[in-house]
């Protein structure tokens, strides 16, 4: 069977890159004494898949990984063992056992919620955000492996709301289309014609789609 696990990457660890985080998680799993499964081959490693890598510099409130294990066990038992082996800034929040044939979280990923804590929000910014969203097209240029490419951000934005100094963004995150929160902020403040304030961006939830509605990835 395999476990769908939700964990947090606390702000202190935001500078840890994806590969380093993977290694830290593998070592935690090794400490846990859980019945793990290993890859075949010359240098066997623990089977473990993160639903979506986090960029360096970004904390994650509810990240999702899939851990195949030998035999059967409850989510509570798994959670207890793994929690004991994790450092304080990398707590494990939930674990749900599913069948090996259950689709991988990575394959079901559709979007993500991000929160940007703006150092200082411009006045009456809620209205600006509304006007920004009311555009039919939002042309932008995004960096890809093959260079800078023009794109339209609008279809990749599921929602934008401003509360106090916090901008919540629901943005597409899947193989077909991904809108990085950083690109959206640049585009938004360009539209607002104000300099972009410093902001700590946190990914708060990964989302999948069920019956045409976005829902937390780990529940699928």
């Amino acid at each position: 069977m395999k476990m769908i696990v939700v964990f947090e990457k606390a702000p202190r660890l935001r500078h840890i890159g994806h590969l380093d985080l993977m290694r830290a998680m593998q070592r935690a799993l090794r400490r846990s004494g859980l019945p793990l499964r290993y890859s075949q081959g010359f240098n066997p490693h623990i089977l473990l898949t993160f639903a979506a890598p986090l960029s360096v510099g970004m904390p994650g409130k509810r990240e999702v990984m899939e851990v195949p294990i030998e035999g059967e066990m409850t989510g509570e038992a798994f959670l207890q063992k793994l929690s004991a082996a994790l450092p304080p800034d990398l707590p494990c929040l939930s674990a749900r056992p599913v069948d090996d044939r259950h689709p991988a979280p990575m394959a079901q990923l559709t979007a993500a919620i991000y929160q940007a804590e703006l150092e200082q929000a411009p006045e009456n910014f809620e209205a600006t955000v509304q006007a920004y969203l009311a555009q039919r097209e939002i042309p932008a240029v995004r960096k890809t492996k093959t260079g800078m490419k023009p794109c339209d951000l609008r279809p990749m934005i599921y929602g934008l709301t401003m509360k106090g100094n916090t901008l919540q963004m629901v943005l597409a995150l899947c193989e077909k289309a991904t809108c990085k929160p950083d690109l959206l902020l640049s585009s938004l403040f360009e539209f607002a014609q104000t300099p972009r304030p410093r902001a700590l961006i946190t990914r708060t939830q990964l989302l999948g789609e069920k019956d045409g509605v976005l829902c937390p990835l780990e529940t699928l």
Partner: protein, 633 residues
Amino acid sequence: MNELENARLEGLLETVQKPARYIGGEMNAVKKDWNGVRCTFGFCFADTYEIGMSHLGMKILYYLINQRPDALCERVFMPDADMADKMREAEVPLFSLESRKALNHFDIVGFTLQYEMSYTNILEMLSLGRIPIFGRDRAEGDPIVVAGGPCAFNPEPLAPFIDAFMIGDGEDVMHELIDVIRDGREKGLSRLDILRGLARLEGVYVPALYDVAYNEDGTLRSFAPNDPAAPAVVKKRVVKDLSAAVYPENIPVPYTEIVHDRMVLEIMRGCTRGCRFCQAGMLYRPVRERSMDRLLELADKLQQSTGYEEMSLSSLSSGDFTCLPQLIQALMDRYKDKRVSVSLPSMRIDNIVKQSLEETQQVKKSGLTLAPEAGTQRLRDVINKGVTEEDLVRSVTDAFECGWSSVKLYFMMGLPTETDEDLQGIGHLAKRVVDAYYAIPKEKRSKNGVKVTASASVFVPKPFTPFQWAAQDTIDAVREKQGKLRQYLKLKNVNFNWHESELSMLEACISRGDRRIGEVIYRAWKRGCRLDSWMEHFKYEEWLGAFADCGLDPAFYAHRERPYDELLPWQFIDAGVSQEYLKRENEKAKRVETTKDCRRGCNGCGLHTWNVCDWVKNPPLKDTDKMAAPLFD
């Protein structure tokens, strides 16, 4: 650090390279309540996180101090150049990783001295940590700055900056030092009185309590205590029973990759071989082994607490560990299912070990490094490196048959009595290693093709070795020899690496330096020198300028052969090996005579009078017992 500084630090982390080095919070890092302890210790490593976190001594002492309920220990590393500059600019003090406390908030600030070319980093760290650089400028409330480690055996170059040095094994003296400082602070004793209390501890040297005078020619005239608390001779500390000594059962597991990212089992301390250039071999005498039971217990605990996938055995010459084959076998059996690989970094090869190598390979293959040190048998006899060309060829042949294909060979150039023939010998040895590979039938050797890397470092004479009186080659002489070696090593399948001779020259000046070298280090740091062992930061011209500022000549320290009757700056330290023994060994070197391994019988180095060496009366090896060559390094 206050809230404002903390916020500025968070901002800096967004702009510097590899910020993960500065965040702490690793698994097994110990964060204690500052209000719940009576003494706080800031453990400093004078190099970057990746280097310092790889160091075993720091892990031992970090664990040892944090086991005390009355004390806490937090780690402090040298920030990289970009971070150091930005911290200074933003007025963020150097801080500990655990609690982000500024360095000057600790009761004790301790440095481990691993190599001389990190000394400017000590000054940089004190400065960033808001602690007065010179001991004499420190106020009552400032931390007591202490240091230990191998380089503390010649403490004089750092005497102006360090309040107290711990000489020898740190496990016991560290507790005594913390007790004295804790009690002294609680009783409200003056700094001077606390230092006097420290000077009364065996193995502790307090430089302020000693006076130095020089002859007109610059040599040392006298060195004597100026205070009744200070002993004339400071005797190194020795932990007699390694199995009973504290060893970490858990170690911080870094998030970001470090140089040696694995568990380390220190299987023994000390070395019996008696190589005449090797300072560690003299300083860490006598040999003490950890018991198999203790090692396996520690291995299990470390494996469970770290989750590391690799374990290495550490010592000066692991191949000499009495129960090595049994230990390797036991570790392999234990960890095969847990996918832990065991690597043997400091090894010799003989028939028993060959079998172990085959087993090592089953789990994970690691590189092969051999250290013949010198190119001819004559010179190897001079340095008492008990290894022959046949040993080397046999060892690499064994390794090639086991599937190895790349070999690193370590040599030194500029050893006493070296001639051109010895340099040619290095080329000859490299060639023989390549030939050994091709002598193996194609189907039995690796398909990767053989790769030999020969590295030649520049010999640096070190205190407490038989070569402590020797002159180092001048930079010009070294360059000429490097040029020749390049010619001799222009061979197919052979690469040649060499070291910067300027760095080795400065290392020679500092390692055998006196108190005046402290002023040179200070001037060099003032001129912007730091992170000197990183080539991109090394400023040789500034170092020369620093010597000139102080009216001192590097050649006096590095390139001058010292007479036996000269008073040496480190002579007041009793390292166990006697000056008489070192002279005897130096004379034997001149006569190209070797000295036997002390497991074959006591050579009377001095430690036999200390009652710490179990093998004085019962040498474990008979003359007829075969011993393999100490090839791996």
